[in-house]
């Protein structure tokens, strides 16, 4: 029987219990996509991409390490340059060159120079002290001067600036010769002392040879592997996305180093002395990866130089004296033939003994160099043409330069190195970042960053909480 029916009702009644089982392939597709998603979105972004970041950083680090290792040679040149006597400078420079070229004449030294250029640091510093002995105006090393007087009697030494073949003779040999001639001198250096020193020194040299050669080979291998990794990674990355996720930044900054507390890095006995931080330079390169629009993870390599002055100290040399009880337990004067003692001028003035020693105006300058590897997160608060970020993170600091100098009325000499510095330390970083987009891929950055050092000094260093502040500026390239 035909009946009138509203079209809506016809459909509603028909579709009331309408259910159709979909084809099995639908679930197979869903399942495949879910699994692909799990792999793509979870494994690749966190593990794989971060591994890419880490690989790039390691590459930068190893390149930086090689670069900065070479750089220390020039630093040691600086040390010799600080000597005020122009004759000495000339002498030193020629000596340094001669050591390299005439090594064949010196069997005792040849292995050192051939093996690694770096060892010239050793010879340079040795020669610095040789040069120093001719400086009779030196108010501090009075005892040492007498040695140099006697050494002037030695024809071998006298001819040193003139005779090119002899110039390269290692310091230790001269010293032995000196001692032989010095028998009549009132301040006799005991022969055992000198030979003992020689042994020790050559041992140190041999050690540095080993240390410098082995890691370098490793680095080059590592670098090769890493370059391959990074190339592979970047290829994948460029295929996957066209966003400016990566960026490479160069930066340079004036850095101010100081302590939050009153203590001294030299030792607790210097806590009362007046101290001042130096403004030095830091420079480096970093790479960052954008996790999203707001958050970037970055790391890199920076060379940081830090300087810190402890004023009003007294420094004197104690050759042949047992100074183990002296106050300078944190200083290793290993580049000097004798021992150096440093005491706070405060101590003496307290004892009303000031008249004893005339050199109260001396400042100890502690010069530190680090290779800094930061790992920081940038959070963008304003993400416009002129952007504003907050930056937080930490750095690993690898000690690359550790020197103590004394400054006295413009005179500057290296007296040794601090023994209470840790080779690896850390810093907690906090900063603000301003960046200005010069173009689509170029950024100008200005970042004042505060870095609080952790574990920089041994725990027994008297209450010294170092920090440094840098105003980092640089150009970033996004790709």
């Amino acid at each position: 029987m035909k009946e009138k029916k509203h079209i809506d009702r016809l459909f509603q009644e028909s579709f009331k219990d309408f259910e159709v089982t979909p084809n099995d392939t639908v679930w197979q597709n869903i399942d495949a996509k879910l699994n692909a998603d799990k792999k793509k979105r979870r494994v690749i972004p966190i593990w794989w991409r971060y591994a890419g970041v880490a690989a790039l950083l390691l590459l930068l680090f190893s390149l930086g390490n090689i670069y900065f290792n070479n750089d220390t040679v020039s630093t040691s040149n600086q040390i010799s340059d600080t000597n005020n006597n122009p004759n000495n400078i000339l002498q030193e420079e020629t000596n340094q060159n001669e050591t390299k070229t005439t090594t064949d004449n010196n069997p005792s030294n040849s292995t050192i120079s051939i093996k690694d250029q770096e060892n010239s640091i050793e010879s340079v510093t040795n020669q610095t002290t040789v040069a120093k002995t001719t400086n009779s105006n030196n108010p501090v090393s009075t005892k040492y001067n007498s040695t140099s007087k006697s050494s002037q009697q030695d024809s071998n030494y006298k001819s040193l600036p003139l005779d090119e073949n002899n110039k390269a003779k290692p310091y230790q040999e001269n010293k032995i010769a000196n001692v032989k001639d010095d028998k009549s001198s009132p301040e006799v250096l005991k022969k055992e002392d000198v030979t003992g020193f020689k042994k020790k020194d050559s041992f140190v040299i041999a050690k540095t040879v080993d240390e410098n050669n082995i890691p370098k080979n490793d680095n080059s291998k590592e670098t090769q592997i890493l370059i391959e990794d990074v190339i592979a990674d970047t290829k994948k990355d460029t295929q996957q996305k066209k966003l400016n996720k990566w960026s490479v930044n160069t930066n340079a900054a004036p850095v101010y180093f100081n302590s939050l507390s009153n203590g001294s890095s030299l030792g607790s006995e210097f806590s009362e002395n007046s101290k001042s931080g130096d403004i030095t330079m830091s420079y480096g390169i970093s790479a960052s990866y954008a996790i999203n629009n707001r958050v970037r993870v970055r790391s890199g390599v920076n060379k940081v130089n830090l300087g810190y002055n402890t004023n009003n100290v007294l420094i004197f040399e104690t050759i042949g004296l047992n100074v183990s009880a002296s106050t300078t337990k944190n200083i290793n004067p290993n580049k000097m033939p004798g021992s150096v003692s440093i005491i706070s001028g405060k101590v003496l003035s307290d004892l009303n003994n000031r008249s004893l020693i005339q050199t109260a105006n001396t400042t100890i300058n502690q010069s530190l160099g680090y290779i800094e590897v930061p790992l920081e997160i940038e959070y963008a608060i304003i993400d416009k043409k002129l952007g504003f970020n907050v930056i937080g993170g930490f750095s690993s600091l690898f000690l690359s330069n550790n020197s103590l100098f004394y400054n006295n009325n413009g005179e500057r000499m290296r007296i040794g190195e601090a023994t209470n510095l840790n080779k690896v330390s850390y810093s907690a970083n906090f900063g603000l970042g301003f960046n200005y987009n010069l173009s689509k891929s170029l950024d100008f950055n200005l970042e004042p960053v505060f870095k609080y050092q952790i574990n920089a000094f041994d725990s027994d260093t008297g209450n010294f909480n170092p920090y440094f502040i840098g105003i980092y500026t640089g150009i970033g390239f996004k790709f």
């Binding site: 035909k2 009138k4 016809l10 089982t21 979909p22 639908v26």
Partner: protein, 181 residues
């Protein structure tokens, strides 16, 4: 395992639970897709997209209201997203007859046939008709969901009814002619 536990396991991306959930709801949701899609192949595509969205967004489900209703909403939205951009040039708006009754006998038309003629409607007409007639949405809701105004929704529905009525009538006539021969 209760539905609630199943949902929780799906939130943790448990593959077994996802498969279980699919088995429970795929038929219901596929019927939704069929009513809103142009053909079975596109309906399958839409079902797939809908489930991917469901598994992605299931973490947001807070056990308030019916889970099945939530699933249906996601499915409908997925399909709408695909078709609502299609423009319908609605030229004939004033010639619509108000007679929506049809002379028909029970079992005259199969559900497969009805589904087929719904799917053959222009996209917008199909969406409005299915939303209003089969799933009970108001013109106000439809206007909101399809980003059109209420008047357009009403006229689209009227056009859809007209097309469907005419199609069924033609079909019935041809059927009876065939039976006479």
């Amino acid at each position: 395992m209760g539905l609630k536990q199943l949902i929780e396991n799906c939130k943790n991306n448990d593959t077994q639970a996802q498969s279980e959930l699919y088995k429970l709801f795929s038929s219901k949701l596929f019927s939704v897709c069929l009513k809103y899609s142009r053909n079975t192949a596109e309906a399958e595509d839409n079902l797939q997209d809908a489930f991917l969205t469901i598994f992605e967004k299931i973490k947001q489900f807070k056990h308030k209201g019916s889970f099945e209703g939530w699933l249906k909403r996601i499915t409908v939205n997925t399909v709408l997203q695909r078709y609502r951009k299609e423009k319908v040039f609605d030229i004939i708006t004033d010639e619509i007859a108000e007679d929506n009754d049809i002379d028909i006998e029970d079992n005259d038309v199969s559900i497969d046939y009805l589904l087929k003629i719904i799917q053959e409607l222009p996209d917008r007409y199909r969406l409005v008709f299915s939303l209003y007639v089969l799933d009970g949405y108001s013109h106000k809701d439809i206007a909101h969901m399809l980003e059109i105004n209420i008047g357009t929704s009403k006229s689209n529905l009227a056009r859809a009814r007209q097309i469907l009525k005419k199609t069924i009538e033609n079909y019935l006539t041809s059927q009876s002619l065939q039976s006479l021969q």
